[in-house]
Amino acid sequence: MKQSRFDTQHENQWCPGCGNFGILSAMKQAFESQNLAPEDLLLVGGIGQAGKTPQYIQGNMLHGLHGRALAMATGVKIANHDLRVVVSAGDGDCYGEGGNHFLAAIRRNLDITLLVHNNQVYGLTKGQASPTTALGTVTKIQDNGTTSDPFNPVATALAAGASFVARGFSGNTDQLKDLIVNAMSHQGFAMIDIFQPCVSFNKINTHAWYKDRVYNLADTNHDPADLAQALNLALDQGTDKIPTGLIFQQEKKPFHRRLAPLQNQSLVTYPFNPKAITAILEQG
């Protein structure tokens, strides 16, 4: 991998061959291509292998609890909506433990970029089913096969009103880099669900398995402004093909524009106003 100002000196703990490396590389390239500096970026992570991503990128970092990355990012953006926030979370982190925050962040149209590293398995806890694991998949815990239908993040995001929904594949870093750049320039909630192989625990959805199935929506006549088309794509379980690229995008007022005090400046930049507060205190 070529050198980047976003490289850190810290040892990377991912398994060799992990799909996360492709995502990490695409992220750094996306930041470079926007001429960003590490101090311009706030990387927020949850817990899991994907949640570690901010540790491996030079930038500001907020690394919190399992499932809660979006809730923290919401607080960050309310305090200072000028910050450029990229959240990295896994399928378990974002769609399982953090499912409620996922829905709420979409509904708020929080102005952030969410990268969900979706390997359809729990990696850091060694191979249990995740919300996106296919029904009937055998794991060490689910040894007769999983018994829940898989969660459909793209269809759910569209139904909840997400304003930017894309799918990436860790094996196509060029496409992913472009998607991240677009997501970061989108005003509002931009989510990229990124398929990636887990070389240690997912023996079904391998790099080759994805390679055989992914195709680029940019090569089709898909219209990302068409919600019905996007939903059809998201809900189509009939084919064995996986569409990647921009699925849907619409303009929608981002969250901070919906809050009166944040119309002209961020909350953190207001000077303390002793006169106004004293007036309130005196009024009792």
Binding site: T8, H10, P38, E39, D40, L41, L42, V44, I47, K52, Q55, Q58, G59, N60, M61, L62, H63, G64, L65, G67, R68, A71, M72, A73, T74, G75, V76, K77, I78, A79, N80, L83, R84, N100, H101, L103, A104, L259, A260, P261, L262, L267, V268, Y270, F272, N273, P274, A276, I277, T278, A279, I280, L281, E282, G284
Partner: protein
């Protein structure tokens, strides 16, 4: 000499009994009297039975009274539930037709001015004459004002004050209702020694909820993520009412877990943040509390306690989360816990909690409860701005850049003698702010090295000495007493009143009252409590403060007065229990 009157206004939810209370309290306050009011209600929006207690005095009050001199029963159920608690001089205003008189009448053997009499008033009928059944409560308020002999001009003034902003039509209807009530009540005076001739201009009537909200604003809290839960919600409701006057954001989170993590995110980004909840919501916030602890991110959580566990009694009061607040979260980290004992204290405690959380980069918990949140009392106008709003966060990145120029990277968790590392918000310059919930190095990178772990635990606890110094010692009254009533938080006023009454009876008792709870200063507290006999007075079943004192100082309590029925601690309850305990303590 203090004189006081207690009015109990009972009815079903939706009958507007709080409006009766607030009209009467406004009248009394503006004529220079002191009030203490408390709401007792069920977890429902309509029906059932609720009551509002209003105590009025010509001396400052610090506690409610449950024994009414005037019982306003908006329905028969309220009469049935409370009339046997009437004082010897007590009178009743009962809504409904008297059996012998279709309009109004009074009953009771002692005539219109005697004790124990009941004035029957058909409030709905009178309200209809005034313009609508909805103002039946204002009719009642007018009648009580007449019984108290306030004079009608005070009533008119208060109606204008409370209903004027809602339009002329509403004000007129209420004024007409009050007039009818006043007319009906004027022949039934209640003999008392209070005078309605003073002025309350140096004082204010405020609820604990509002005081806490003002404390947060005075300390420059700007972000209030929350999830609705009784009895914490009123604090946030008050804050929301200021959103058009100052730049603040109140955000209803998707759950309490989101609320606490939002607070952490915003605080990390440089905005002081506070959330309010009750025990159930606080339970959900506990993992976040730990994140604030290890990441050294200041947040403030107000836990307005109610009886639990689980749903418990949703709209009732308790003091049973003390040990939970001190120990909540896995593993160990320094935190502050405060438990204000009055409305004014709630203001100062929240202000102090916000300031100290920011100074020491730790979480702070303020324990209130339904009783304190929903009680309103006359307080001196001492809700001063102070300097708690002054920031500790270095906003201009100078710290970071200075360090970078010395060839270092900004270290969010730089080791210092006090354990407090200079904190800057993210993205303010070359200094990269890296914060983690994992154990971490000085630059915030997760690290499992045992030396790093020890150093970081020690760094966090290095703050403890100065944190203890920032805590006020408990207040002690009559230090050479034979024994002491010891308590914490909202029961302060009740304990003080009970203590003073018991002393008038010749019992040699003092008090020891805690508001700054944690961290405790072990040596100072041990010295303070040495050779003192403690009778704990607490709103829980296991004497949690007594347990804490014993575990920290080795001083054990001799007895305890406990109340865990979900209802407030009244002075009379403590007095009765202490009398029973005399054999134990003497």
């Amino acid at each position: 000499m203090g004189h006081d009157i207690t009015i109990l206004i009972g009815g079903s939810a939706g009958q507007g009994i709080q409006t009766i209370g607030s009209l009467l309290s406004g009248i009394c306050h503006k004529s220079g009297l002191f009030i203490f009011s408390y709401d007792d209600f069920q977890s429902r929006i309509r029906g059932g039975h609720s009551f509002h207690l209003l105590r009025i005095s010509n001396q400052p009050l610090s506690a409610p009274n449950i024994l009414p001199d005037i019982l306003v029963a908006m329905d028969q159920n309220s009469y049935d539930q409370h009339h046997d608690r009437l004082t010897d001089r007590g009178v009743v205003l009962l809504n409904g037709k008297h059996p012998d008189d279709p309009k109004t009448a009074q009953t009771g053997s002692q005539g219109p001015t005697g004790a124990g009499r009941t004035l029957h008033l058909n409030l709905e009928e009178l309200a209809k004459e005034a313009g609508g059944k909805i103002v039946a409560n204002t009719v009642a308020a007018g009648a009580v004002a007449a019984i108290l002999g306030t004079g009608f001009s005070l009533v008119r003034q208060e109606i204008a004050h409370q209903f004027g902003p809602r339009g002329e039509k509403i004000e007129k209807m209420n004024l007409s209702a009050a007039e009818r009530g006043y007319e009906a009540g004027r022949d039934y005076p209640f003999d008392h020694a209070l005078e309605f001739t003073g002025s309350g201009k140096d004082r204010v009537v405020m609820s604990g909820a509002r005081a806490a909200a003002l404390g947060a604003l005075a300390a420059d809290c700007r972000f209030f993520p929350f999830y609705p839960m009784s009895p914490g919600t009123p604090i946030i409701t008050h804050l929301a009412s200021f959103a058009d006057q100052v730049p603040i954001v109140v955000e209803q989170a998707e759950d309490e877990i989101a609320a606490v993590n939002m607070a952490i995110g915003a605080s990390f980004a440089g905005v002081r943040s506070l959330t309010a909840t009750s025990g159930g919501g606080f339970s959900l916030m506990v993992e976040g509390l730990g994140l604030a602890g290890i990441s050294e991110t200041p947040i403030v959580i107000i836990n307005a306690q109610r009886p639990g566990p689980a749903t418990g009694l949703a709209t009732r009061t308790a003091q049973a989360d003390l040990l939970f607040a001190i120990h909540a979260s896995q593993d160990e980290f320094p935190r502050f816990v405060f438990a204000p004992g009055s409305v004014l204290s709630a203001f100062h405690a929240v202000k102090k909690a916000v300031m100290l959380a920011d100074k020491f980069q730790v979480p702070a918990i303020v324990l209130m409860d339904q009783y304190l949140v929903d009680s309103a009392m006359t307080e001196p106008k001492e809700f001063d701005l102070g300097d708690a709003h002054k920031p500790f966060l270095q906003t201009d990145a100078a710290t970071a850049e200075a360090q970078v120029s010395q060839g270092e990277t900004y270290q969010r968790y730089r080791f210092t003698k006090e354990g407090i590392s200079p904190r800057i918000p993210p993205c303010t310059g070359a200094g990269l702010v890296r914060v983690a919930g994992n154990e971490h190095t000085v630059t915030g990178f997760p690290d499992e090295n045992p030396e790093t772990r020890n150093a970081m635990v020690d760094k966090r606890f290095a703050k403890l000495g100065a944190m203890k110094q920032a805590m006020a010692m408990p207040s002690v009254f009559s230090a050479d007493s034979e024994f002491f009533l010891a308590g914490w938080g909202s029961t302060r006023g009740c304990i003080m009143e009970a203590c003073l009454t018991l002393r008038q009876e010749g019992i040699n008792v003092g008090w020891i009252l805690f508001e700054d709870i944690w961290p405790l200063n072990k040596q100072a507290l041990t010295d303070l409590l040495a050779h003192k006999k403690l009778v704990m007075v607490e709103g829980n079943a296991t004497c949690q403060l007594g347990t804490l004192i014993h575990s920290v100082t080795g001083v054990d309590y001799v007895s305890c007065v406990r109340k865990y029925d979900g209802r407030p601690m009244y002075p009379a309850f403590i007095i009765e229990k202490v009398r029973q305990l005399q054999g134990v303590t003497q």
